[in-house]
Amino acid sequence: MRALRDLQTAFLRSIATAPGPEASGSFDPALLRVVDGDARQAPGDRLDVYAQMYWMRLHTVLREDYPRVAAMLGDDLFSSVVRAYLTRFPSTHPSVRWVGARFADFLAQCRETAPWPLLPDLARLEWARLAIFDAADAPALRMEDVRAIPASEWPKVVLRPIPALLVLHSPWPIHECWADADGPAPRVRPAETHLRIWRQGDAVYQAPMDPCERRALEAVVSGATFAATCAALETLVGDPERAARDAAQLVLRWVEDEILVRVDARASDVTASREWIAVPVADPGETAKNGAVANSSSRQIRVRLRRLDDRPVRKGG
């Protein structure tokens, strides 16, 4: 037990096997023989300080990372689940930031939390919000950038999401659970849910997406041109003109939420040939008014329809 490797192996195994009063039952006797004791404290008492701190520290981290899951389970069950999690998935990253990385997957397999089938997805949402909080920065596309794009350019414009954007799918309305989860488990019915989670300034937001937004955002995430995004929406709404208008409105909403950056495609990448294009046009007055808190999708958004030769045409013409 004097060799450094043996000592460290026995030390960590001793303190990380069981929390609370059970901890000392896991202490390696050979390790205890090389720990000094005195009249005030036996070697086991001294080692126990490290055991208690190990569990308390990581429990605290997981409670901070998963406050809604913790609230839903209550103190005792959450502690029990954390203990099982840390035993099954000890931390393997130098930064404590990643201790909870596999918690959602663990919950999906956990028998104790089976009565809460939405819990793994709620945990995924909490983890996603952490990931978004410190995801990479990127200068977001602004409304004036959008206005500066000539209508003739729009078919080949490629808009990409900022790094601080994630899409989460769940058979449960986890955003509602997230909002309500300060008390006991809410009675929630399954409801197919597609969330986008993003950072704007320092704040993390989330919003459910309807099928149109989901389809369009999937296209954007995959690197589609604006024309291809319109085509993707057309498969959903049937009408090319409506698809173009919807796509343009979505772009304006996303620009308000600061979730887009622009990457221009080469002309050869533009495969979709379209007669109609909807040019996103933000009302300049609205932009000035809402620029600082552009997080609402309720704002009036105007869309001007043009033919691809950039001549204004009648709506619905």
Partner: protein, 282 residues
């Protein structure tokens, strides 16, 4: 040989509760110490805060996960991320702890104690050298509070720390509170610890509060510095002269003014002791 760092004055740890003051530019202090791992992230608020802090005062990086004493291989991706952060924020210096924190790839996220043996010393010296090579700079190594000692240790902690500094050519971040906590827990002479260190190696001092139980002191960083630790700090300044000093306060973090008042107390102690030294030598 010595550690080549500036005297930055009397600073405080950069903690989340005071981020708003950092962001609005009202956090006035000599210097900040940032926990490296909190800023080893791709982006977002932490890095924004760090940039603002740098605009207000010098910043140093203080790590908790280097695991200098671990038998695991050095974590190369951790070192790469640390180097990226160093390049980004240009800290006045970088420090971590004399401890181990992982084995077999399992991280305890704690500052675990080493036996003070020649085997452990050789191991830590070799790793400290490699870390300094990777980072391209000297590091400071901090003594930790401990709650147990090993019966096969062959030297006192201060001898181990001094030998590490000389053989690896690194600096010492002397945590005066940790010296005091460990001295009470293990019954050694805290003053002897401080006197044993070579002044040229001591690049920074930490001050902090601790808690007391029936049987031991715990390094909780949750309150003001106690009188016995101020006395030990006086001795440290007498021995080393003025050294950049930082107040750590991690739990029950007080209002900014209270935190800064603690740093100002350290300044007053340093001024008083340095004045006494000058008067004696005049």
């Amino acid at each position: 040989m010595a550690i080549d760092v500036l005297h930055l004055g009397h600073g405080v740890g950069l903690r989340t509760s005071h981020y708003p003051r950092v962001l609005d530019g009202t956090a006035s202090v000599d210097w900040f110490e940032a926990i490296s791992e909190n800023f080893m992230v791709p982006g977002g608020r932490p890095l924004t805060v760090l940039e603002h802090a740098r605009a207000l005062a010098p910043v140093v990086l203080h790590g908790v996960s280097l695991s200098l004493g671990s038998v695991d291989p050095l974590n190369e991706s951790y070192l790469r991320e640390l180097k990226t952060l160093i390049q980004r924020c240009e800290p006045s210096w970088v420090s971590d702890h004399l401890c181990w924190g992982s084995v077999g790839g399992h991280y305890a996220h704690d500052l675990l104690p080493l036996p003070f043996t020649e085997e452990a010393l050789r191991h830590v010296v070799e790793r400290a050298r490699r870390v300094q090579d990777r980072l391209g700079r000297q590091i400071l190594v901090e003594n930790v509070s401990s709650y147990l000692t090993f019966s096969h240790s062959t030297m006192p902690e201060w001898e181990f720390l001094s030998a590490l500094a000389e053989r690896a050519d690194c600096g010492i971040l002397l945590d005066v509170n940790n010296v005091y906590v460990s001295s009470v827990n293990h019954g050694f002479d805290a003053a002897a610890y401080v006197r044993a260190l070579r002044p040229a190696r001591v690049g920074q001092i930490h001050l902090a509060g601790h808690s007391e139980t029936d049987t031991r002191l715990i390094d909780t960083h949750d309150g003001p510095v106690v009188p016995a630790v101020w006395d030990l700090y006086r001795l440290a300044v007498r021995c080393f002269g003025p050294v950049s000093t930082l107040v750590e306060w991690d739990d029950h973090v007080p209002e900014w003014d209270v935190l800064c008042a603690e740093a100002e107390l350290a300044r007053a102690v340093e001024t008083e002791v340095v004045g006494e030294r000058r008067a004696r030598s005049a």
